[in-house]
Amino acid sequence: MTEDKKPDSPAASSSGSSHVSPEGAGEKAGDTEKASSSANVSSKNDPPVAKSMDDGSKSAVVARPKPKPKPPPEPPKGPEDQLPPDDKVLPPMVSALQSTLPGALVQVSYWVGDWTIIVEPERLLEVLAFLKSDELAQFDYCSDVTATDWPPREKRFDLIYCLYSTRLRHRLRVKTRIGETDSIESATGIWPAVNWLEREVFDQYGINFSNHPDLRRILMPDEWQGYPQRKDYPLEGPGELLMENPQDWLRLRNLSDEIEIDSDSEIE
């Protein structure tokens, strides 16, 4: 019924005697209006009678405290490179590598049927060249080059080469740990296949490859700022600010929740 009165002026509705007392309703609505003004500015111009219909729900919205943002879970410190079980015999190429290039190998890892070797970054190229040419290894095919990012670690990136031998039909992953500012020798001289794959790692992680013939961005536009696959790069992508100043943008992003709370309190 009160809905029909909506287009009328408040004076006209007050003259009617058969309806609910509009003054009382208007006062009541006025009180809640003050409280809800910060929440919805446009509702100020609504007639007070209509306002009284839904003030209960509005005030409920205002009264509900803002949920505090959950503290983010602690980021993992690094991959768990499980050691091979004791009864597992090392593949022959790994033992050959150990004897030929002593000191290059940091760790051997085995998990769900995959062998991974972790090597020193300075000797990575040496190891890869050995694995390609050695009789027991013959890794003539480089399947994949990729990286993982573990931000709390000092050497935050794992650079991973997935190798395959088309002659002996076995696989091996070679992994090395490098820091954000380090640069690493490109393996394009060993397998031309890694050209684009290393470009993608450079594009997505910002790992610098020295002696790469064509180190440009590949998936992202050339003028892009930031490295999307890094863990501190937000999922929703950059704002316009990023194009101008990536550091400011990252700082603002981390503080965005606090800024919202501040702006609310100013209006009150």
Binding site: P73, P76, P79, E80, Q82, W111, V112, G113, D114, T116, D140, Y141, C142, S143, D144, T146, T148, D149, I160, C162, T166, R169, R171, R173, W191, P192, A193, V194, N195, W196, L197, Q204, R217, I218, L219, M220, P221, P228, Q229, Y233, L235, G237
Partner: protein
Amino acid sequence: MTVSVPRASVSAFDTNELVINMGPQHPSTHGVLRIILRLDGERVIDADCVIGYVHRGIEKLCENRDWTHIILLTDRMDYVAAATNNLGYVEAVEKLMQIEVPRRARYLRTILAELQRIASHCLWLGTHAMDIGAMTVLLYTFREREFVLDLFEEYCGARLTYNAMRVGGLPLDIPPGWDAKVRTFCDLMESKLGDYEQLLTNNRIWLQRTRDVGVISGDEAIGLGLCGPPLRGSGVSRDLRKDEPNAAYDEFEFDIPLGTRGDTYDRYLIRMEEFRQSIRIVRQALDGIPEGPIMGKVPRLLKPPAGETYHAIESPKGELGYFLVSDGKSTNPYRFRVRPPSFCNLQGLKRLVKGHLVADVVALIGTIDIVLGEVDR
């Protein structure tokens, strides 16, 4: 009024290199691929591929999603072979969690993957032939591809993005009567293959456009990281269905066709033979579908133990690999990496087009069979 234009002497027509831009909107690039060609007359001196136009950050997205929710994102990579993408991913997670998949599910997965290979090759053959100028083949192959899509629609309700597999098995069993329809399709497809070959295999124009175009030796193809039919076209016997059998491939008999010359025509013949081998696998699988459950024992919330794995399968385009890292704590992968076969094959285009005519570029883009959704992710 006349304007006198100084006439260039004949010697002024020197042979400058010409840089032309092919794409990103070009009908024969099969998507948004831009190639910057440097030409000397009609010959290509150099080609530079510019990709990334459909980059959606699928890897980043997947790292922020549940292990189960990723399956439907993998559909969006190679969208003409979505079931194969699903298969590679769920098998990688199964490997990471060491889940046993029931035999029936493995058989059905194999059937789906091989039907998908037929559909993908149908699309490849039609568009490849049309690029070169044979219009009819496209209409023929799309008719048969439609049949496969209908089969998939009957199985899971979707025609392109199936979301057809789950970690540990399959969400749906085959509807009653579906296997009979697949059998009908196999017979139909086998008879239609003759039609395609009649149109192309001994066609003089087809031979002239494909013979000795884009020749690459086996060693060079291995070094360049080519995979799938482009690698086998150069005579390298590498098919992950045989070398590292996944699903139920180790239980079936099939041959790996190999090329001898490593040219576009060989790659065409190989894919034609792969149609037949796929039909052979599907028939064997249909004959032997075992009874039993279609889902293994899988926890409701997937949380693989901390560790990493690389699992690769043979997709219609080549080696499709998934590199997954789990931190053991959260319900989404810490790292999700796809090794896209189209991406690695496209890298070889620069080498293949060198020295060929501009018109051959179109044939060579067709012969490596790329899907830009997978190249860019």
